[in-house]
């Protein structure tokens, strides 16, 4: 019991409370989404419209398990067994040896459409066959494909329901890890008719397929999973030559590797600006209008990295390998040795060639095979051509996340229409997953166009937040010191002019200051004279006041003397009044003492 395998099903109630036993599906990405696999000994419903890949999901689950020695039964109500065998073979899955070994049983369960119906019936025959086969093979995996076809026979929702419940009970009683596939019509009401299946089964997966702007996009979503966690998102998937590939949209932030050591950008000045260089496992966005040197900047890094012996994968949606290599040669960057030594690998495709999922899948596959240290993507802006903005966004987010999880550094270039829209510069709405933003732009001063470079953001490191002049020479890039003057940042010839202008301006200013100082001196003198005069006036007034006060004082003195003489009585009266008041207080105290 301690050595519980996912195959043990629900037999172990002791562990049930802790964790639901699961059966690995073997389908790329699906086990990640389902946090382990299908519920063991229980039923999973896979629903979706025609052509969404339900059969392949079921088939791959059984095939992968059978290859691992776990036998399974595939019951199909829709396709002919022979056709299904052929389709399966085209995915590289040969059922014949497995069928021979008793590891796989493909049952083309066809209900005679000509059959007459007279009275009540049920699917006991099917169950008898499945049970007999399961027993003889020791099978505990079953896929019932297109269960809706069988159910249509009943021609009555209540009976369908009863039969499906009976089937479900049977599957549970026999501890079969089962997958039922159900076809739902695109916009029809089949989903509501079979809605009870969502409640009946323990795990519900919906497949979906849409064509958005000529690009086919497949999606899967787990609707529910009783007793288990799963990734609650819509996951894109593709059906490739090796089967179903689900690329889980995970909340991967926590799995991201911490930003790593500094790596040189390939240019010492830029390194200084970034306090040592780019950081490993970080995502760098080089943003700017067309022709500003984004590619050159990225390739400066690529050349340097490859020279250090690091491997770079360059995904280019903009130009061919030849065009990029020769373009870079004219800027003094020779990528040929890196390509020759297998340090640099270019993936050049047209974004429209396939859907975003397919692009992502291919990129991830190359990353896994080539194992680069760094990935460059040119350009974010061209990803929109994969279909919709949303598809491009998901492609990028997931590619960035993949790189982050693997600890790879990623450089994204992005062509912006202008430099006013900050969202555009920092790359769609991806700024939360981008660590460093380098912005390059043209600046037109004095009839001369110059390139400017600025570090808009640099997470986890100090950086210079001023514009620098950025030059592309025939021997690589150059970053010049910043010139900070009153007129902002200047480059090229305009900078020299500005410097001369500054000297003149400074001289003018000095003169002006002198003039102002003199003026102030004069004004101060005037003011002081004024103060002196006022003070004199004030002193006179004060003297006059004193004389008046003296005069008034003498009069008052006389009045006081007379008053004192008259006031003897008044004083004695005041004394008499005070005596009885003291007495009263005395009695009061006594009372209080009582």
């Amino acid at each position: 019991m301690a050595k519980r395998t996912p195959n043990e099903g629900t037999k172990i109630p002791a562990t049930k409370a802790r964790e639901l036993p699961k059966v690995a599906t073997g389908i790329t990405g699906l086990d990640d989404v389902l946090h382990g696999g299908f519920p063991a000994g229980r039923t999973t419903l896979v629903s979706g419209g025609p052509g969404t890949g339900k059969t392949i999901v079921g088939m791959e689950f059984l095939y992968r398990n059978a290859v691992n020695g776990e036998p399974g039964i595939f019951v199909t109500f829709e396709e002919r067994a022979e056709a299904l065998r052929k389709n399966t073979l085209s995915l590289g899955w040969d059922l014949a040896p497995l069928e021979k070994d008793g590891k796989f049983f493909l049952f083309g369960a066809h209900v005679d459409p000509q059959a007459a119906i007279s009275g009540d019936f049920n699917v006991k025959g099917l169950l008898a066959i499945v049970e007999g086969k399961a027993k003889s093979m020791g099978a505990r995996r079953i896929v019932i494909d297109a269960v809706d076809v069988l159910m249509r026979l009943f021609d009555n929702p209540a009976r369908e329901r009863n039969e499906l419940y009976a089937l479900h009970d049977w599957l549970n009683d026999h501890e079969m890890t089962a997958v039922l596939t159900l076809k739902t019509s695109a916009g029809g009401d089949t989903s509501s008719r079979y809605e009870f299946l969502d409640y009946m089964t323990d795990c519900v997966i919906q497949l979906d397929q849409r064509v958005v702007e000529q690009v086919l996009t497949r999606r899967m979503r787990v609707i529910k999973y009783r007793g288990s966690s799963y990734i609650h998102k819509e996951h894109p998937f593709i059906i490739a030559d090796n089967g179903v590939n689900i690329i889980p949209v995970s909340t991967v932030e926590l799995q991201h590797k911490a930003l790593g050591a500094k790596v040189s950008t390939g240019h010492p000045r830029l390194d200084t600006m970034l306090d040592g260089g780019y950081r490993r496992a970080s995502t760098i966005l080089i943003s700017g209008t067309g022709g500003t040197g984004k590619t050159t900047l990225a390739n400066t890094f690529v050349e340097a990295a490859c020279e250090r012996g690091e491997k770079v994968l360059y995904i280019n949606f903009e130009e061919s390998q030849e065009a990029m290599v020769s373009g870079m040669l004219s800027a003094g960057i020779d990528l040929r040795p890196a390509l020759r030594d297998g340090k640099l690998r270019l993936m050049t495709t047209v974004p429209e060639a396939m859907g975003a999922e397919e692009h992502l899948f291919q990129a991830v596959r190359v990353i896994e095979a080539f194992r680069p240290d760094h990935v460059v993507l040119e350009a974010m802006s061209s990803c929109n051509r994969m279909g919709t903005k949303q598809a491009a966004y998901e492609y990028l987010v997931r590619l960035v996340n993949t790189c982050k999880e693997k600890g790879l550094m990623m450089i994204l270039t992005n062509q912006t229409a202008g430099f006013k829209n900050e969202n555009e510069i920092t790359g769609m709405d991806m700024s939360s997953i981008i660590d460093t933003v380098i912005f390059v732009r043209f600046i037109d001063i004095g009839g001369e166009i110059n390139r400017m470079l600025m570090i808009l953001k640099s997470r986890g490191q100090k950086s210079v937040n001023q514009y620098r002049e950025f030059l592309i020479t025939d021997h690589g890039i150059d970053v010049r010191d910043v010139y900070v003057g009153v007129g902002g940042v200047l480059t090229g010839a305009a900078r020299q002019e500005q410097e001369a202008r500054e000297v003149l301006q400074a001289r003018r200013k000095r003169l002006e200051i002198e003039l102002r100082e003199q003026d102030i001196k004069q004004k101060r003198a005037v003011m002081e004279a004024e103060i002196a005069r006022s003070r004199a006036e004030l002193e006179t007034a004060e003297a006059e006041l004193k004389a008046l006060q003296l005069e008034e004082g003498l009069v008052q003195e006389g009045r006081d003397i007379r008053g004192r003489m008259r006031g003897e009585d008044a004083n004695s009266l005041r004394l008499k009044k005070r005596v009885p008041r003291r007495k009263g207080r005395g009695t009061g105290r006594k009372e209080g003492a009582k």
């Binding site: 007279s118 009275g119 009540d120 006991k124």
Partner: protein, 105 residues
């Protein structure tokens, strides 16, 4: 339907002059299967006047036969001979439908 009603009384296996082979697939003594068997025996009295053969198969006892005959639904009556093969699902409570399917009308 009116036509079949009238003909049903006069026509039967007799008229065809061949040996009928009927096979009824059942699932143990599950109610529908039991009823189908009873209904078939009733039908035999009223309509199967000529030479005929009946076979009863319990799919619960022999799944292999069910598999070979692709019997998913029970009860299931199959007209094995004469060809073409005909199939009737259900407990055979609707005699009209059964007779029509077995070409006995």
């Amino acid at each position: 339907m009116n036509r079949s009603d009238r003909k049903a009384k006069t026509k039967g296996t007799e008229a065809l002059g061949e040996t009928y082979i009927l096979r009824l697939f059942m699932a143990g003594d599950e109610p529908n299967s039991k009823q189908a068997r009873e209904n078939l025996e009733q039908l035999q009295k009223t309509h199967l006047k000529g030479p005929h053969k009946k076979e009863f198969v319990d799919v619960l006892e022999d799944f292999q036969i069910a598999l070979e005959n692709n019997v998913l639904i029970t009860p299931c009556l199959i007209l094995v001979y004469p060809l073409p093969k005909a199939t009737v699902f259900g407990n055979l409570s609707d005699t009209e439908k059964v007779l029509a399917a077995l070409r006995l009308t």
